[in-house]
């Protein structure tokens, strides 16, 4: 059951009016897709923030329009704290959509007790699934992750009817020994200044053609 989002029609555009509306607690949104006309909407900041916090990607719009929509893109401010604008794409429940799903680690890896460090190089993957089956995140169980072992995308449990849009051999999480800390005294001493590209070398420094 998708989250319900109350929306109003929006006749205000332009940065000054949009800024005033944002200050008053409304976020501009746009609804498009399925070859139908583009509709300018607005939603309450608190409602939209709640939907995002709950990880909803598909929402049921209520109020000015009554449709199901996929949250296609959210624009954030520089600090990633406040939403600026939302793109909504029309979808039907049986339509297959491509979505980005977050990966959440669950459990404790036994490899950590063996001196390893759990590294997660991939934090989200793209999948294709029916709009009704879109999920906020996929859980990755690492309870059996030993030292020098890894879990790939192909080993993940996907929602029913979902297929991967990324390489199945991609490593999601691995447990490996921590990289040794570099000692300052080891290796060659660093030069005092970097090499200047195109600078003429002084005499006696070696000849180059």
């Amino acid at each position: 059951m998708a989250e319900v989002l109350q929306v109003d029609n929006r006749d205000w555009t332009g940065k000054r009016r949009v800024r005033r509306q944002r200050a008053a607690g409304r976020i501009p949104a746009v609804l498009y897709g399925h070859g139908q006309e583009v509709v300018h909407l607005s939603a309450a900041t608190a409602d939209l923030a709640a939907a995002v916090r709950h990880g909803s990607q598909v929402v049921d719009l209520a109020g000015a329009v009554k449709e199901t929509a996929l949250i296609k893109e959210i624009q954030w401010d520089t600090f990633g704290q406040e939403m600026l604008h939302v793109d909504l794409a029309r979808v039907s429940a049986d339509e297959r959509v491509a979505v980005t799903v977050a990966l959440e680690l669950r459990g404790d890896a036994p490899g950590i007790k063996q001196g390893g460090v759990v590294d997660q190089p991939v934090h989200e993957i793209e999948i294709e699934c029916p709009a009704a089956a879109v999920t906020a995140s996929l859980e990755v169980n690492i309870n059996s992750l030993e030292l020098d072992q890894s879990i790939t995308v192909g080993e993940l449990e996907l929602p029913q009817g979902a297929s991967l849009l990324v390489d199945a051999d991609m490593v999601v999480v691995q447990c490996s020994e921590p990289a040794p800390e570099l000692d300052e005294e080891e290796g060659e001493p660093a030069p005092a200044e970097p090499e200047v590209i195109g600078a003429k070398k002084e005499e006696g420094e070696g000849e180059e053609s």
Partner: protein, 138 residues
């Protein structure tokens, strides 16, 4: 050891102004939590290294620390008790130019509470005000 570029086109550069907010490097990308600056400034290579040491001493081989900034800018200075003039000084140190919103460090593989305590230690080393940012899926 403090970082600096391996090769540069020019030994010295002009100071320039820091204008606007960060539009790149302002999202947590590699780890789970990030240290985000709320003001602009120069962060010297020695400061970046001091922050790294402070964080890694706290983490003690748990989790991963990522440094998201690099000191590309040569900062020059003139020696003490030198009369004015006689040209621009010699390169003194290297600094990273950061705009408000830039993620400076990231931590992965630790709890939120551990990351918060680690960043609190690290923030003492920095010349800019910072806040903790969290990873958010696209």
């Amino acid at each position: 050891m403090a970082q600096m570029p391996k090769r540069v086109k020019h030994r010295k550069c002009q100071r320039r102004r820091i204008k606007g907010n960060a539009t790149r490097g302002n999202r947590v990308t590699f780890g789970d939590f990030g240290l985000q600056t709320t003001e602009g400034g120069w962060i010297s290579a020695a400061t970046i290294e001091a922050g790294r040491i402070a964080a890694q001493q706290y983490l003690r081989n748990e989790g991963q620390l990522y440094i998201r900034i690099f000191p590309h800018k040569p900062i020059t200075s003139i020696p003490l008790e030198t009369r004015m003039g006689k040209g621009k000084g010699e390169p003194d140190y290297w600094a990273a130019v950061v705009k408000p919103g830039t993620i400076l460090y990231e931590i992965g593989g630790v709890t939120e509470e551990a990351a918060r305590l680690c960043f609190a230690r690290l923030a003492h080393k920095l010349p800019v005000r910072v806040r903790m940012a969290r990873r958010r899926s696209a």
